[in-house]
Symmetry: C2
Subunit: 454 residues, 2 copies
Amino acid sequence: MAPRLASVWKRFSSTATSTFTAKSVPSKIHLHQPIPDECFPKGYTLTGIHCGVKKDPNAFDLAVLLSTTPTPTSTAACFTRNAFKAAPVTVSQEVLTRSAGRARALVVNSGCANAVTGKQGIEDAWAMVRATDALLGTSSNTNETLVMSTGVIGQHLPIAKIVAGIQNKSSESLGAGFAAWDRFARAFMTTDTFPKLRARTFTVGGENTYRLAGVDKGAGMIHPNMAPHATLLGCIATDAAVSPRSLQSALTYAVDRSFNSISVDGDMSTNDTIVIMANGAAEGTEIDEERDRASYEAFRDELTDFAQNLAQLVVRDGEGATKFVTVSVDGAISYEDAHKVASRISTSALVKTALYGEDANWGRILAATGSIPLSTPLDPTRVSVSFIPTDGSKPLPLLVNGEPEKVDEVRAKEIVSLEDLEIRVDLGLGKESAKYWTCDFSYEYVRINGDYRS
Amino acid sequence: MAPRLASVWKRFSSTATSTFTAKSVPSKIHLHQPIPDECFPKGYTLTGIHCGVKKDPNAFDLAVLLSTTPTPTSTAACFTRNAFKAAPVTVSQEVLTRSAGRARALVVNSGCANAVTGKQGIEDAWAMVRATDALLGTSSNTNETLVMSTGVIGQHLPIAKIVAGIQNKSSESLGAGFAAWDRFARAFMTTDTFPKLRARTFTVGGENTYRLAGVDKGAGMIHPNMAPHATLLGCIATDAAVSPRSLQSALTYAVDRSFNSISVDGDMSTNDTIVIMANGAAEGTEIDEERDRASYEAFRDELTDFAQNLAQLVVRDGEGATKFVTVSVDGAISYEDAHKVASRISTSALVKTALYGEDANWGRILAATGSIPLSTPLDPTRVSVSFIPTDGSKPLPLLVNGEPEKVDEVRAKEIVSLEDLEIRVDLGLGKESAKYWTCDFSYEYVRINGDYRS
């Protein structure tokens, strides 16, 4: 039937075009600002350079970070669950396991994802690891470098250029402080419209001051004629001392509540990787969950908050995004249930287009809320939905215990017109909560990803 | 942090607008054509009228179908799994259970979904049932009518108008054949751009000729200031005799492979309902899976094919759709795995925007394929992806056993430029297959659902 219909359809199709006038996507470059050098963790040296993966000689495409403390460095990571793991993901997993969480370096290239590249891809990723290992200057036979790649898929790395970049050019510009971190962050970028870098100081139990710095990159379409590919990469470094097992459990907890709680378009990449290093350069007692639960939780919560800030930058830079939306789900029986509902609302095309249209459409939020199976079935008469303005003014209830409110449409319009807003759903069943961050679905998203070639 | 960022952001936001030029969405009205009267099942009388739910006096908004045979009529249904079931869904479930699959009538209104309407909504749905029961002219106390509603949510039905419409106006125009089915189909419509009606004859084991007619409606309802709401409703009738249990199991099987295998935007409504009636008016042996498995399977497969045709009409009329895409997943260990992968590909915003852009982007298909957990993990080296043209010309392999092919871009462009195309993914693990039908994601989709009010 299909061929017949196609030909019938063709007769009725017109080649005429329609024109849409859309809100422009605001610039977000102001989200990248200088940060005082003293906020960056001690004991790391790093850089970002141009080595030749990208064509533009001014575009950085290679990042290197080394931990330089004599004390052992702990490293942990979270990787994509995609069945088609890119070569750098496979290799990093192996390095992390073999080194028992003691990797000390990270190398990243942008411009080519080294994904779906077969045996050659694996060899190339190992070549990047070995070249960076050499910069550490140890004679150990254990590989101590994790590797990440982002960019076009199905294409081999220009590995000679990358290895030369690591060996020669990167060591010339290694440094610390904002300038070095800024270079480092720029080398992660693909279609990001600004480098994503944050740093802060924190204390654990008032004992000692530590520093935390992080970089990520997100969303992205790259080579107009090749397979575009959205990847989330992140690197966090601290000068606190944390045991490898506690670093991994803190990272897993934090990633669940940050990078695993954001959505631009709901698609999962083959390269997604978040790495954290803790080198103990600030001294102080090693944090370990079994030796001192309170310190561990303080660190874990600090890390979670920091990771959320980094993850939110990706949503703010989401392709075509004109709005930054927090979806809060309260009153769930379990965190997992709350997270599932928040995720479903955040990925609903109907909710996201309504947000773009600045339409206070609680019906779509409700339909999305009810559309996934939970461990405890929802009771519609206990569910409430409200809009929370981000300017500190009063929340607007839309649905209270399953009953629609008489909504003040002018007020609703005021709230959905804000660039930042929060949707809050209370399931009325328990005490667990989860948050998700998402953006709207705009014409610009379709343009970026549809790449319509007329 | 949010309020501060919002204010910073505001400074950088511009009120300027961008303009996009998009392909126009082709008219699909040619998909509704006259059907010979003899294709419609015997023993049903039906109509569609305007009763006053919709403002436009020429728009039908009430549909009634009665089975008029003296033999028992079997009825089965599949309902939305959304936790926020609309009142007509709850009431129809109760009628179906109480009557043990022996309902004999269906009443449908469009224009108002009777969802999130509390106790009053339930009473209104029962009022529709009772008014339609009265048309059956039986003195039985058992309710024999199923009820469906579609349209705006959070609003009460104009129940007096509906009941008057059922009692008075509907009986005046009850009839059979194409004219009656056409009225019936029109009364289902919300934002549908054409009435969705199909009919055919079929035989089971060469014994007897039966007839099958079906109506559905899909995608999008639009009251600009209210909560729009996408609902799928369908009604299928046959004059074959089928036992209630076998009618339900055949329908469940068919719906899984048809209405549960289509996606316009991946959102599940509170009202989705598919109803089937089998009244035995064509005589012949009652079909029952335990008495005669072969006849049952013949009927089930006929019904599945028919339901697929109906379901595909909804995708063709998908909001903003410019393409009709079949996603075939072969080589799975189980039907469920194949179905999961096909669903994931069909709902990927990245895949759907690439289709709109006519970009042969196998990377996005691959990333979507790998992004969900299956009963048996995927082996990337066994996965193949190809594009199948619908004009009978040669398929185009894009990825073979995990290795990217050297793709002829001109040929790829030719295929993705067709209105109808097929994406085929072979997982290389087993012998099970599933199909899904989806459409592309266009500017027009964002316009319809974003309803941007500048």
